[in-house]
């Protein structure tokens, strides 16, 4: 009993230190802002920001923005996932095609695909469509690459095993290849979702008519510093929660599948 308690206490110390650091940092900023060392035009006191957060979160403006951003992220992810999976499967089935396109796909990782945004704005107008296109194109890259790698990594004995057991083609795909590839495909999907979210918020920030990213830029432009910080905070918290939740999910799936 006591040893397990001690052990869990030993495991908890980094969390304690992390909470302490964040709280200490916030406390320091609170002191610096309250005492006037930092002008409220640059940074309002953290308590004020958090108070504002309490007002914002139940407001219609926020819920509309959240809904709009969420719809964009999910549509971009859905499109990116379908296209990415198809590309990954195609690159695996047709190794030559894969080898031809792979370097381009990999270098798209580091390409500012985002600079196409103005072009898409010109083509599609100021709507959700250009954002969805950009975010989907960012999401599909890790999904396609991971799917391809996952399928290539499957040992050739597995499909042979299927054939020897008289599996139909469909059974080989769904009962053997798909589960075998899942542990590597899932991280790609997780990464794809995160990229879709980053792309969406970043694009909204540059130019959009609603959404969480837009609202941050909007409050900056209207010199509403408290709201701006509150939105930055809420956007960060959402992103952190999504990240942690997806990583947990990924770990669980990988553990169950391996």
């Amino acid at each position: 009993m006591s040893t397990t308690a001690a052990r869990s206490r030993a495991r908890a110390w980094p969390a304690v230190a992390q909470v302490g650091l964040v709280a200490g940092g916030a406390g320091l900023l609170e002191f610096l802002t309250q005492s006037g060392y930092i002008s409220p035009m640059v940074l309002p006191p953290p308590t004020e920001i958090v108070g504002k957060l309490g007002e914002i979160v139940p407001s219609n403006v926020f819920l509309d923005d959240l809904g709009s951003t969420a719809i964009t992220v999910f549509s971009a992810f859905a499109i990116g996932a379908i296209i990415g999976l198809l590309i990954g499967i195609a690159f695996w089935k047709l190794p030559f095609v894969g080898a031809v396109f792979e370097p381009y796909l990999v270098s798209m990782y580091s390409m500012p695909a985002l600079v196409f945004y103005p072009i898409l704005l010109a083509l599609l107008g100021l709507s959700k469509a250009p954002i969805v296109v950009i975010a989907a194109s960012m999401a599909l890259i890790p999904i396609a690459l991971n799917t391809m790698v996952a399928l290539r990594a499957i040992k050739s004995t597995l499909p042979k095993l299927g054939t020897s057991l008289n599996c139909t083609r469909r059974q080989i795909y769904w009962k053997i290849l798909a589960p075998a590839a899942t542990p590597l495909v899932v991280p790609g999907l997780v990464l794809g979702f995160i990229y879709a979210m980053i792309g969406t918020i970043a694009m909204e920030f540059i130019l959009a008519s609603n959404g969480i990213g837009f609202r941050i830029g909007y409050y900056y432009r209207s010199f509403d510093v408290v709201d701006m910080y509150a939105y930055i905070l809420v956007a960060s918290i959402i992103a952190i929660i999504v990240n942690v939740a997806l990583n947990r999910l990924e770990r669980r799936i990988r553990r169950d599948m391996q």
């Binding site: 980094p14 230190a17 992390q18 650091l21 964040v22 640059v42 940074l43 030559f96 080898a99 031809v100 792979e102 370097p103 381009y104 990999v106 270098s107 990782y109 580091s110 390409m111 500012p112 985002l114 600079v115 945004y117 103005p118 072009i119 704005l121 010109a122 083509l123 890790p142 690459l145 991971n146 391809m148 790698v149 990594a153 590597l184 991280p187 790609g188 997780v190 990464l191 995160i194 979210m197 980053i198 918020i201 970043a202 920030f205 540059i206 130019l207 941050i216 830029g217 900056y220 510093v225 701006m228 930055i232 956007a235 960060s236 992103a239 952190i240 990240n243 942690v244 990583n247 990924e250």
Partner: protein, 266 residues
């Protein structure tokens, strides 16, 4: 193989890329690869006459040529280059040593790594307004934005790379009575160099992207600003010309760092 953040995903892709070596018809692959951008260009040519929203590639290239000939591109190019290089430099100078510390010090690692990894999904650009309120619109805020963006991939990659240094080599170093500095410069860093370079390359790409996005939002000068001005004025050939230039710079920079990385890997 773990694919939980971007550097490993890239390594996975690299590993997959190694399959190429075994392919027979050696000329077929490069030839097919070259046709991809050519095909893209042809598609561009084909689309241009259909819609007013897409200028012909010829017009865009002519505009780009003009930019260099008349010189209107230089101030923006110089400004963006300054922000990218300075910000990227700061990102390396802070991210690398801190990443080293994080990878080598168990306590620092346990405390800070989850904090940093937890913010992986936060789009860094939303911090730009903070920098703008702090420094005002201009090169300083933009450089800060670039530095923040470059910092994270570099610190994460360095920390992971340094932590993966083989236990054997560390043992060898200790048994030869290497001091801290020798251990770092003669064992840990050389062993981790290829993996650190992946982070630095990604950091560079992200620096460039961050500069352009920041400029699209608010800047006094820069290629991103020129893109958004051209968009606002509906000067489409100019907009396409600058986008093309940005792509080329990103591509070339990436290729250069990639070949450096390949050299370290071998």
């Amino acid at each position: 193989m773990t694919v939980t953040s971007d550097p490993p995903a890239e390594t996975a892709a690299l590993a997959a890329g190694q399959l190429e070596g075994r392919r027979e018809r050696r000329w077929a692959l490069p030839a097919a690869r070259i046709t991809v951008p050519i095909a893209a260009l042809l598609i561009w040519f084909a689309i241009a006459p259909i819609t007013d929203l897409v200028p012909s590639p010829a017009a865009a290239l002519a505009e780009l040529w003009q930019g260099f000939a008349d010189g209107w591109i230089y101030p923006g190019l110089a400004s963006t280059a300054t922000a990218v290089l300075a910000g990227f430099g700061i990102g390396v100078l802070t991210g690398f040593p801190l990443g080293y510390l994080l990878g080598r010090n168990r306590i620092a690692n346990r405390i800070f790594e989850p904090l940093i990894a937890g913010t992986f999904a936060v789009p860094r650009i939303i911090l730009y307004p903070v920098l703008l309120t702090l420094f005002g619109v201009g090169l300083l805020a933009e450089t800060g934005m670039v530095a923040i963006s470059a910092f994270f991939p570099i610190i994460m990659a360095t920390s992971a790379a340094v932590r993966q240094v083989s236990e054997n080599l560390l043992k060898l170093g200790r048994s030869l009575r290497a001091n801290r500095r020798q251990l770092a410069t003669k064992i840990v860093i050389p062993d981790a160099a290829p993996a650190i370079m992946v982070g630095i390359r990604i950091g560079f790409s992200i620096s460039f992207i961050a500069a352009i996005i920041a400029e699209l939002f608010a800047a006094k000068e820069g290629l991103g600003l020129m893109i958004s001005e051209a968009y606002a004025a509906l000067e489409l050939p100019r907009m396409y010309a600058i986008v093309l230039l940005v792509m080329v710079i990103a591509f070339v920079g990436n290729i250069l760092l990639w070949s450096l990385e390949r050299r370290l890997r071998s």
